[in-house]
Symmetry: C2
């Protein structure tokens, strides 16, 4: 079972890494860039499980629920 | 124009961070996890531009073309 998890900083949380990349892109001449936010893309292969189980992984380890949101996409297998 | 860029390590490139997360998940009891690969999710807001321009950003700054692949998804605007 293939699973993708997208981890994003919650809206309103300052994205320092994104701001650094924004500035660097503008310095390279990409002045059309207005905002950059950087998150994580976690791709997993599981021998078994379902969305509830992946949610538990996110809550316990993959994301920091205080400042991050997660989105789970089950590519195949049970949902 | 909203753009998402997914940055992934190329196949065959050792994902050290992914291996650490894999081990940590298994130690927490998630023994069904067989593989973890970790990439970046970059979300940008642009005042103008097209896929070619975003590709240029990837090649010049966002990705390391030696070890990383990138996937560009234009959410609205010109493609």
């Amino acid at each position: 079972m293939k699973v993708k998890v997208y981890i994003r900083l919650k809206e309103g949380v300052l994205d320092v890494q994104g701001q650094v990349v924004l500035r660097a892109l503008r310095n390279l001449g990409f002045e059309e860039v207005e905002e950059v936010r950087i998150g994580k893309l976690i791709e997993m292969e599981l021998s078994d499980g379902d969305r509830e189980r992946v949610k538990e992984m996110c809550e316990r380890m993959l994301a920091n629920p205080v400042v991050e949101d997660y989105e789970i996409v089950i590519e195949d297998g049970k949902d």
